[in-house]
Amino acid sequence: MGRERLLSSLLAAALLVAAVALTWPALGGQGVAAPTGPGIVGLVADGHGVPIAGGEVVLYGDGMPLAEAETQQDGRYFLPWPEAASQAKEVALVISRPHFERIEQPLTAEMRAALERGETISVPPVQLEREINAAFWVAAFVFAAVLAAIATERLHNTLAALVGMSVVLFVSYLGPLVHESLFIFDFGDALAYIDWGVIFLVMGMMIVIAVIEQTGLFQWLAFQAYKLSGGRLWLLLPILMLVTGVASAFLDNVTTMLLMTPITVEIAIAVGVNPLAFLMPEVMASNVIGVSTLIGTPTNILIGSYSGITFSDFLINQTPGVLLAFLGLILYSELTYRKELAAGHSASPALLARLGEHARITQPDHLKKAGVIGAGMLLLFVFGEHIHLVPAVTALVGATALLLWIRPDMEEMIEAVDWTTLVFFMGLFVLVGAIQEVGVISVIADFIGRLVGENLLLAMGVLTWMSALLSMVVANIPFTAAMLPVVGYLTLTIPGAESKVLFYCLSVGAAMGGNGTLIGASANLVTAGIAERAGYPISYAYFFKKGFPAVMITVGLALLWLVLKFIVF
């Protein structure tokens, strides 16, 4: 069994490397031909002014194609002026791209004269209008179906993303045999949508986490929290929330809750308190404080990679608001669980001894080394941006250094990497690429754009609350991935949004909104799973009753900070 898992892990790793190699040309390997001789230079963009790559520009002379060029990543093209064009009575450029209306751009007599003198001319930029065709509806339907399959747990996240990816690619290749409007994109273009910065950052952090989670650090911290509180349960609650929250800011929330929940249940039982009085505030703190750093949540990793918001940017712009939200959450939790906390008592010496036994650092040497490497990584995350060191490289270098230093069983380490999540991300990127390609994202962006106009405050409010409410019912990772281009468009069009404040709004809404429902975050589900196995089930209704007001408070406070920071001051 272990051998099979190792083989499947190695296979996944090999696929990952192969996919990077395949995508490499699309990532930047395409060279832009330097203009030589007479020719036409132009720019093609969509209705939002976003450059269009892969557009086909054809020069027609008396209805016959004479020369052609392709637009590059920046939407520009250079089309050499062929000699045959000088003989034609009428010449015109025809610009087309799948999922856009084709457009004809005539050349004036002055332009022709300049070209015939051997000059290179620049034609006015062209905007292509979106074409809503069959591919649009197919991609939109597949994406919605994947979201529904994940939300209703009909399919595992990864399987749902793989099914969605397979369907859009299958339709792309076989659909045009039925009707050309069913083409979405080809395989190369699909792979170009995968954000390898995200994949490698997540993978690097998984290796570091795999080492830390075996050291007993979380259990030790939880027990120290009890000792620090001196048995005062009103004090134990915020300390446990803080420990969980800080761990979540640097490690993934699911791992944090997987390790914090069992020891928390033990502490709660020992002091005679319903464990949910600690677990609910802990998991909510995990979802709230995780937003404060670039690596705290998968949604922040996506946002950082797309928008260029750095680790320091998150610390400076997001952390104060998160702390404000955390204070609100502490007050809310103390108030909500006051009766349960009041019913508790001090743990008996026998139970305390048993707790202490469980809460020992089991691998002190590994913990020390992980601490040193972790501190180094933190410094690189913060200061690496000055030398353009991307977070994915820091994570990979840190993970490799840790492996070299502690020399763990590599088989175990490879198994510890959550390949299913990485494949989920890859499938998701392709799916989001599909809806971006066919124009679904543009339609959403247009709708929100019309709704908020040029009012930044309104845009912040709409985006934050919409993200928070939708994240309660829709998995927040695909939601965030789909919203990134929308927010990118709004950032370009709304005055004042160039500060990237709307990306912070998306970050706050998508992560903190997960506290509203049991299915709002994976950390909620694993916490409920363990609590249920300890005899304390968390129902959907219970989670909503306790979580929804917490969302209102925390999102409201975090948004208040963003308004103060980016609009008032």
């Binding site: 075996q214 069992p262 020992a270 994976s522 589900l525 799973g529």
Partner: protein, 151 residues
């Protein structure tokens, strides 16, 4: 070997089951075993790569829950042992009962049945359920509440 096996999860729902097992142990004088079964089905929401670490943590939590039950038995003059197993509850319970050649299996009363809900097990269904356990384990099934099995 012989004895009473009582499978528990912890929490308020387990208290009647623990109490029933303690009473049965006092009446019969048989050794009492509290059993906690670690089941990681909920990890299907997340990665299977966490199985090793989380299994250890869940075992620790199970031992702690058993400790509380053992403490309750001790207070009533019964010495009980705690046993942690992994896998499906049904299979682990039957396997352990066979292992110690148990005389009784004490099971909790399904929540819906206890609360008289419409979707609850009928007495016939519970009797069928108990018969299945008895045939597989060789031990007599006792529910935590008298009116649970319709007896």
């Amino acid at each position: 070997m012989s004895g009473i096996v009582c499978a528990i999860r912890g929490g308020p729902e387990s208290r009647p089951t623990i109490q029933k097992a303690i009473e049965l142990a006092k009446e019969s004088g048989l050794p009492l075993y509290f059993l906690y079964v670690v089941n990681l089905d909920f990890l299907s929401y997340t990665s299977s790569s966490r199985v090793q670490v989380i299994t250890h943590e869940m075992e620790q939590m199970g031992e702690f829950i058993l400790l509380m039950a053992q403490e309750e038995a001790r207070e009533q003059g019964v010495e009980a042992q705690g046993v942690v197993r992994q896998g499906s509850l049904r299979e682990a319970l039957i396997e352990f009962a066979r292992e110690i050649e148990a005389d009784y299996l004490v099971l909790g009363c399904p929540k819906a049945t206890r609360r008289g809900k419409a979707n609850a097990f009928t007495p016939e269904m519970l009797a069928e359920f108990a018969r299945g356990f008895e045939e597989a384990s060789g031990a007599k099934v006792v529910f935590s509440e008298e009116d649970c099995d319709g007896a």
